[in-house]
Symmetry: C2
């Protein structure tokens, strides 16, 4: 413990300053070797006119220390303010969100007494890349992105996490029975990487059934890794049913800087009254201590905290006559934890981080990109066709085909309407149609773009085009229903 | 009850024939006026080489009766078989999935004794339109579609359902803090339509927090309406935590034909042994009876079934020493329900459909499409750039700009990498980049397509293009993070 680790700290808004002071006090008493640099983020910075809630100069500290302990902040009311978490996540390449969801029965109320799961959520891709287009007056779209390196990073992180934390199983949730290409890639990479961890049990669930199982029987799970959107929804479900929203910490792991925080908000109405429960931020700080390879301090803090909860020393939010022995404020809670540093819980399971090894720098490496033979097959042209008259559309479009390209089908919301299927006459159509042209093998991309131009020059409103290719002889595009 | 309503029935696979026989026997005894046409769907049809599991001739019956009572089917192992439910849903325009999730405490085990919610899921749009493209060796994409008419139909259906069923509140779940255009449209239309139902309470939750609340405190909800994907996941969560997966029926409501079924599968290992619980299909049939405006028969069946459950006459799947009085098979369960037709439950809440009015034909009407002034602003070109060298890419691309179009930014997975931002040098890049060109007002679509052609002719692999427009002066495209 000779050298101190530099850590960037933000006290945040609302109850933030109080719970941060309590947390840092406990860390110091536990012997954590930290060199703290303080930056300002949140409400004050937003109101100074900085729409991201962080000053440009603060990035320097974050990019240098690469460790950020952040109290909750308040985003001012009114439009134009961007989420600080989204900004730091994207700017700092924080690819993994880690959220342990643990129940502390019988000391904290829960319907799931034996719950101890960790949700590991991909943090940069999926629909949250924020790529949206309005395709027509009636139709809007958002693009879900799933990449091989992005998925490799999160899945490998999950397995490394499981190994480092002595976890037995890593479960994967996807919807690859429907989303065969995107979620199919996630599942495939999960299988590939899992093969390198024979010591860890693997298991895949379709997300709907998996979510139902998790919400009903969370004790059946251990570590769960998921694409961004499912992880967003289900990590909130997991924290809530554990009874631990006010007690849970979380980590955002990145190559350039990792951030540790409580999962709850800044609770402005509780601010300045020595009421708030510092546990969420404190457990976030425990994750930080492990990340910077100070497992002894992490274990001391975590076990002291468990003992405090077990002894019934509770802040107002978890106080209950039945199990609590003393209602305390933020400061008194911190003192109670400090008094118990070096002790272990008796009924709750103590943590043991003695053999813990922090993440190795190479853990998020991705496999080298190999060239993949691609072959051009055709082009999809998504157009706005307000009359919705499908046969008129087909006639017009067909006039512009040729030159090695023919109209294979037209669909509306994924349902083929031309050539007409069994109930096509009764298919409800929006004003947004997709026309698929296939090449006879002679049409290159240049000819395809000329076709698009002919359609556009004929007065058809082209909203989007997508190149159809095979990759290693496998189709890189889905077929329409009924195609 | 003079005229019988024609209904198409499929006995399905596994336990299907047994539970269908039991269900039809109860319906008949209850005085339901049905003229039954039987069609074959499922395993046998799949194995005859029909990849959709339904014969072309069966569509005629479905499109004529417009009512389909379907037992669970088995989809054979091996690839190439399409989901029958997806096919019928899409072919028949079944825009609404309705799933009541009720707990029957203390007669069926649940952690949520007072749960009585109805999940109404949009059934045709969202990511389940199945539009996927591989954009590069590393990047896959799927397009989420949310349309105005599709959303109007589902939201209006939800409010009409609530009014018809005497429900007090319709809650909406979206993620419109992130997906401002797609989920934003869903939320906006929800607000518009809710204004026409002042007698019904309205409420919106961000889906992550709403899902957490629902999983923990389902009694706080009544009817919940959601886009397709959230509804898929959360209707399974709701059914599971109610303890009623084996007892729940569901309706798929369409303009051309509505389908009623159990939510469970065909359980082949239980088949032919007089073991299966027919309750799920029976409650699906109750939804059907209401749909075809036979509320008296629906009420008789539903109350007789509730009384049977309450009397402890239980099939093996819900049998429990503590509350059950008699373990029965499928046939005996059906007889027990028939014996109780005309009776009401004492402890469970009886249903009352006396004042029920079936859905009026105009209920799914959508507002007329109005022309919206659009203005062309630019074009996004999504390319495959294997070297990932951003400045080389910008230099090359810039060479081809001009003619009224200039390169505004390049991003990777939604994060701006050119012009470089605060940590751009450290941003992890996949091999898929998006280049955004804005027009100075002089570039028409023709010039934009010429620009795409110049880029493509220079050897750059163009995967996708998206036209950037304003609609009624509002941007129809999202900004990149950091833009």
């Amino acid at each position: 413990m000779a050298t101190k680790t530099p850590v960037t700290v933000a006290y945040g808004d609302g109850i933030g300053p109080e719970i941060m002071a309590a947390t840092l006090q406990i860390l110091e008493a536990a012997g954590a070797a930290l060199e703290i640099e303080t930056i300002e983020v949140g409400e004050k910075v937003y109101l100074q006119g900085n729409t991201s809630g962080i000053e440009p100069s603060s990035w320097e500290s974050l990019l240098r220390t690469k460790v950020f302990l952040k109290a909750p902040i308040t985003t001012p009311q009114g439009g134009g303010y961007k989420s600080l978490n989204v900004t730091t996540r994207k700017t700092l390449g924080q690819y993994a969100n880690v959220r342990p969801c643990v129940s502390y029965h019988p000391f904290v109320e829960t319907k799931h007494p034996n719950m101890d799961i960790v949700v590991i959520r991909e943090n940069e891709e999926d629909l949250y890349a924020g790529v949206e287009y309005r395709l027509s007056p009636e139709m809007t779209s958002a693009i879900k992105l799933i990449s091989r390196p992005g998925t490799e990073k999160i899945v490998r992180y999950a397995f490394e996490y499981a190994r480092r934390h002595n976890r037995k199983k890593v479960t994967c949730f996807t919807k690859d029975n429907i989303l065969k290409m995107t979620d199919g890639l996630f599942h495939k990479i999960y299988d590939e990487i899992a093969a390198g961890y024979p010591d860890i049990e693997k298991e895949h669930w379709i997300v709907d059934i998996g979510a139902a199982k998790m919400a009903d029987t969370p004790e059946a799970f251990d570590v769960i890794v998921m694409p961004n959107l499912y992880g967003d929804v289900l990590s909130d479900v997991a924290a809530q049913i554990a009874g631990s929203v006010g007690l849970a910490g979380s980590a955002n792991i990145g190559d350039n800087c990792s951030m540790f925080e409580a999962i709850h908000g800044s609770a402005p109405r509780r601010a300045g009254q020595n009421l708030a429960n510092p546990s969420g931020l404190l457990l976030g700080a425990v994750l930080m201590l492990m990340h910077i390879n100070q497992p002894e301090a992490a274990e001391r803090v975590h076990n002291g905290w468990l003992r405090t909860i077990e002894d019934g020393i509770h802040t107002y939010d978890i106080f209950e006559e039945r199990v609590s022995t003393k209602k305390v404020g933020t400061k008194e809670f911190a003192c109670a934890v400090i008094d118990r540093l070096g002790q272990k819980p008796n009924r709750l399971k103590p943590v043991s981080y003695a053999k813990y090894q922090a993440q190795s720098p190479g853990a998020s490496a991705v496999s080298a990109s190999k060239p993949v033979p691609m072959e051009l097959k055709g082009i999809d042209v998504i157009i706005h066709w307000p009359s919705r008259n499908t046969s008129e559309l087909a006639a017009l479009i067909n006039k512009h085909a040729g030159n090695g390209l023919s109209l294979e089908m037209i669909d509306n919301r994924g349902v083929k309407v031309f050539p007409p299927g069994v109930a096509a006459a009764e298919t409800f159509c929006t004003d947004s149609f997709r026309c698929r042209f296939m090449s006879d093998g002679t049409a290159d991309r240049s000819k395809m773009l000329e076709l698009v131009k002919r359609i556009s020059d004929a007065g058809v409103d082209v909203a989007m085009t997508a190149t159809l290719r095979t990759f290693d002889s496998v189709e890189g595009y889905s077929l329409a229903q009924g195609q």
